[in-house]
Amino acid sequence: MNNRILRTIVPGTIIGIALGIGIYTFVYARGGSYLVNDPASCANCHIMRDQYDGWVKSSHHNVATCNDCHTPSGFIAQYATKASNGFWHSYAFTTGDFHEPIRIKSGNLAVTDNACRKCHLDLIEGIEGGHAKGSETVSCLRCHRSVGHMH
């Protein structure tokens, strides 16, 4: 076999296996939890247990669920995020190949930072600089990292 075929087959096989495992987990470990809105379902993965426990005691547990902060607004964007996270987290969970403690990645962090604005836009209009069009926004999480769940 020459290199070119190898380069196609090997990743292909890996993706195939990964898909298989991912889907297996998605079903068995209730990765589909991602698709519903009940925070308890996120804790189906014992790996999300800390965040769940933290959320229960947080200032937000009466007002915001996991998905309020961890999915963007808009139906398509929301389900795209859920599906993508649902799949990759299932995959990571199964293979055990992820950084511990779990660290939010920059894409999801941006989603969450924006989620704050869904609810608090009125309050922060002043500091966001109503007049400062195009300037950088404030990162809420710089000061409020622990509102969703103490880490």
């Binding site: 009125d122 002043g126 500091i127 600089g129 007049h131 400062a132 950088e136 404030v138 000061c143």
Partner: protein, 424 residues
């Protein structure tokens, strides 16, 4: 009605009552558009003391020369050793605890140091709203205006300004974005960035918003000197921001602030290097800006705004510290005071060491030893004193960078004591 008002506020945070332009520097006018910020800004007249900071309002009988009926406590009376450290220099005449921004112009005008030395217009850079005056003097060119004012005698320049630091000095009137208006800082940062390999750094174009939340303060809360006969204000950062970098710079250009009266040492006076010291600390490293602690957000009605009552964070711990540190207020105060007390004790040891060196040097001089023979010891005094003063003049009593401040004091002690040894 109340609720309705608040909802309105929320949607439309700023009532545009006046059209602000780059020609309006009176904060009262800006205050028409931003009454919340303006109200807080005016409160910098408050004087409240903390263990090591804030300031104390001491009553005083006004005279025609100095009409102030309140001043803050004198540091050279609180610690007489300061007079010995600064013997022969204006600071040994009058040096007080600094207080709120509202006082900056009158405190500068009326300090007794003005009676001892003829000061240049350069002083104004950090004690008045100079943006518009500079532009006027320079016919629209900020830097040119700066150069012109630098070369005026102080009291002539004094007539060109009318406000302490004002909105226009930190904000662009059109967008309210932060901006840097001080040539000293623009040039200082350029030199500093160049030392790190960044060519032609333009702070107003290249700094992030978060950086600007510290840079606007770094316009004034820094170590400086007046360069050459043009009395140009220079921030000595071209080798770096650490105390040894700054001393190396002064040594290279053979700069001295004055000659110590009792010892003949070519002495330096360090002045409020808050920005430099903060830079060495864990907060700066974690992206925490001056404004985060000294102008924390506060809620006013339905709006969240930056508290323009710039002051000691210890007078506002819940907003300044507790968003990030979930400890009780009393615990946070105790943490700061533990750091400050440790710093203050070591500072006192360093001060004693310096006093010992100065008195040894003085005695050696009286015994007829020449400046040539004393040069090494005098250089140790220069070093010891600059290091000590770098921490002493830094107004956080160690808080901005606790380990670094202690390290500097430790080295200062070493210099003083080595100076004594050099006299054997």
């Amino acid at each position: 009605i109340n609720i309705f008002e608040r909802q309105q506020e929320g949607k439309n945070p700023f009532y545009r009552v006046v059209d602000l332009t780059d020609e309006i520097d009176d904060p009262e006018v800006w205050g028409k558009n931003f009454p919340l910020q303006y109200d807080d800004y005016k409160r910098t007249v408050d004087q409240v003391r903390t263990r090591y900071g804030g300031s104390e309002a001491l009553p005083r009988t006004p005279t025609s020369a100095d009409p102030r009926n309140v001043v803050s406590q004198s540091k050279i009376e609180e610690d007489e050793r300061l007079k010995i450290m600064w013997a022969g220099y204006a600071f040994s005449k009058d040096f007080r605890e600094e207080r709120g921004h509202a006082f900056m112009l009158e405190d500068q005008t009326l300090t007794e140091r003005q009676q001892v030395v003829q000061q240049p217009g350069t002083c104004m850079h950090c004690h008045a709203s100079v943006y518009l005056p500079y532009k006027k003097l320079g016919n629209g060119d900020l830097v040119k205006g700066f150069e012109v004012m630098n070369q005026m005698p102080y009291f002539e320049a004094r007539k060109k300004v009318s406000h302490p630091v004002a909105c226009i000095d930190c904000h662009d009137p059109a967008t309210m974005q932060l901006r840097i208006t001080r040539p000293g800082f623009i040039e200082g940062m350029q030199a500093f960035k160049a030392s790190q390999g960044v060519a032609s750094y333009d702070v107003n174009k290249m700094a992030t918003r978060q950086e600007m939340r510290s840079f606007v303060c770094g316009q004034c809360h820094v170590e400086y000197y007046f360069k050459g006969p043009e009395k140009r204000l220079v921030y000595p950062w071209s080798k770096g921001l650490k105390v040894e970098d700054i001393l190396a710079y002064y040594d290279e250009i053979k700069f001295k602030d004055w000659t110590h009266k009792d010892t003949g040492a070519p002495a330096l006076k360090a002045q409020h290097p808050e920005f430099e010291m903060w830079n060495q600390g864990i907060h700066a490293r974690s992206g925490v800006s001056c404004a985060d602690c000294h102008m924390p957000y506060k809620r006013q009605g339905a709006l969240k705004i930056s508290d323009h009552h710039v002051r000691s964070p210890l007078l506002n711990i819940n907003r300044s510290c507790q968003t990030c540190h979930k400890w009780p207020e009393e615990e946070l105060r105790a943490r700061v005071e533990t750091i400050q007390e440790r710093n203050f004790k070591l500072r006192n040891l360093a001060m004693d060491a310096l006093m010992d060196l100065i008195s040894d040097l003085k005695r050696a001089r009286e015994a007829g030893r020449t400046d040539g023979e004393l040069a090494t010891a005098q250089d140790f005094q220069r070093k010891a004193q600059f290091y000590l003063d770098f921490v002493e003049a830094e107004n956080s009593t160690g808080m901005h960078a606790p380990q670094e401040a202690a390290r500097i004091l430790g080295e200062s002690i070493d210099f003083s004591r080595k100076g004594q040894n050099a006299l054997r």
